[in-house]
């Protein structure tokens, strides 16, 4: 078990709940989702509760995260996009905090499960579709018809554009999931080398310095990836929301 790099992704039921034959158990994944939300919410609430005009160190961290997401959204979707700020900010904070919490040893990484990231991506795409049709009616479908395409090619191009649009939630979710999964497996494999090498006596212990060093280095890289993937997820969300706000025109 100690050397199994996949074991960390196993879901275990903490409180088994079954309603009408369906499994609604409270799992470790759910527990860490709750922990993520609580951590992010508590951090933002506590750090901004003093409301200093001159922010304290922690307050400026939360203000920076606000500014960061706000400017990202404004750049991508214009000032109209700011109505989606709560959603984008929540998504960003959830993904970021879930990624960071997952870096602690023995902690579960929520975003390393495809279904979680896919649900988040579906939320984004669902918002884009619903809001697009609400605001533009069938004009939203212009999104799929690029301008300046010869008439014969239009059906082909529209089909390709539709497939491309439908592939967005998949690529959005797979990217986040694959990054977290690959990173954590790599980390675990290198950490496993340390224990298995040191079983070979003195030479092994000396040799295990190398994978130990790698583990430390990869941990640093993983912190970067955790932030980067949350950022990428939020940026792509902003870009897709921009399509909902201004399709084709």
């Amino acid at each position: 078990m100690a050397n199994d790099p996949i074991h960390q992704f196993q879901i275990s039921k903490l409180i088994p709940i079954e309603i009408g034959g369906l499994d609604f158990s409270f799992t470790n994944s759910a527990a860490f989702m709750v922990a993520t939300v609580v951590a992010a919410g508590a951090f933002l609430f506590l750090t901004t509760s003093s409301r200093g005009l001159v922010p304290s160190r922690m307050q400026s961290v939360s203000e920076m995260s606000y500014e960061f997401v706000a400017s990202m959204l404004r750049d991508a979707a214009g000032s109209q996009g700011m109505r989606f700020f709560p959603m984008v900010f929540s998504l960003f904070m959830f993904v970021l905090v879930a990624n960071l919490i997952g870096l602690f040893p023995y902690f579960f990484t929520v975003t390393s499960h495809l279904i979680v990231t896919f649900a988040l991506a579906l939320l984004v795409i669902g918002t884009v579709i619903v809001y697009g049709f609400m605001k533009h009616g069938f004009g939203f479908l212009k999104l799929f018809v690029p301008q300046g395409v010869p008439g014969i090619l239009v059906p082909l191009v529209v089909l390709i554009e539709v497939i491309s649009f439908l592939s967005r939630p998949i690529s959005l979710s797979v990217r986040l999931f694959a990054n977290m999964l690959a990173g954590h497996i790599t980390l675990k494999v290198f950490a496993g080398f340390v224990t298995s090498l040191s079983a070979f006596g003195a030479v092994g212990v000396v040799g295990s310095i190398l994978p130990l060093f790698m583990t430390v280095a990869i941990t640093g890289l993983e912190v970067l990836v955790a932030f980067l993937q949350a950022y990428v997820f939020a940026v792509l969300t902003c870009m897709y929301l921009n399509d909902a706000l201004h399709p084709g025109h």
Binding site: F144, E161, I163, S167, V225, L228, M239, D243, H249
Partner: protein
């Protein structure tokens, strides 16, 4: 030291000294311009270098994951649609074949789009000024 030093404070009251100062100023001006020119070229080179080396190391790995996921997602969706059409309409191999190819096209489009070589779906809104990396 405490006083703000004027230009050429070391006795520029004498005429021969002043002429020398003028020459030195000219020399200085010339050198400064030269430095500016070299700095400009170097900064440009650095910026270009950043752009090219940006695709190595960590960001290269990220780029690879990004592009491959875009490509695979396109194909997967194409295959999925084709399979569903075959299931419902009973046109067994044809839906899969056609939509696999369309999905391939969509995957290539996704990759080109995320690499910034094709304009985004639809035309960008007016409040977004010229989209730099697109339409290379």
């Amino acid at each position: 030291m405490a006083k703000p030093p004027g230009p050429g404070e070391t006795g520029n009251d004498r005429p021969e000294n002043r002429a020398e100062n003028d020459i030195r100023d000219d020399e200085l001006e010339r050198r400064r311009r030269q430095l500016e020119a070299t700095l400009a070229t170097r900064r440009q080179a650095e910026r270009d270098g950043e752009k090219s080396t940006g695709s190595s190391g960590v960001t290269g790995y990220g780029q690879a994951l990004k592009l491959s996921s875009e490509f695979i997602a396109g194909i997967a969706v194409g295959v999925g649609i084709g399979w569903i059409i075959d299931r419902t309409a009973g046109t067994s191999p044809w839906g899969l074949i056609v939509f696999l190819l369309l999905g391939f096209g969509a995957g290539v489009l996704n990759v080109l789009r995320s690499a910034g070589m094709v304009t985004e779906a639809g035309v960008r809104s007016a409040d977004k000024q010229s989209d730099g990396p697109e339409k290379k």
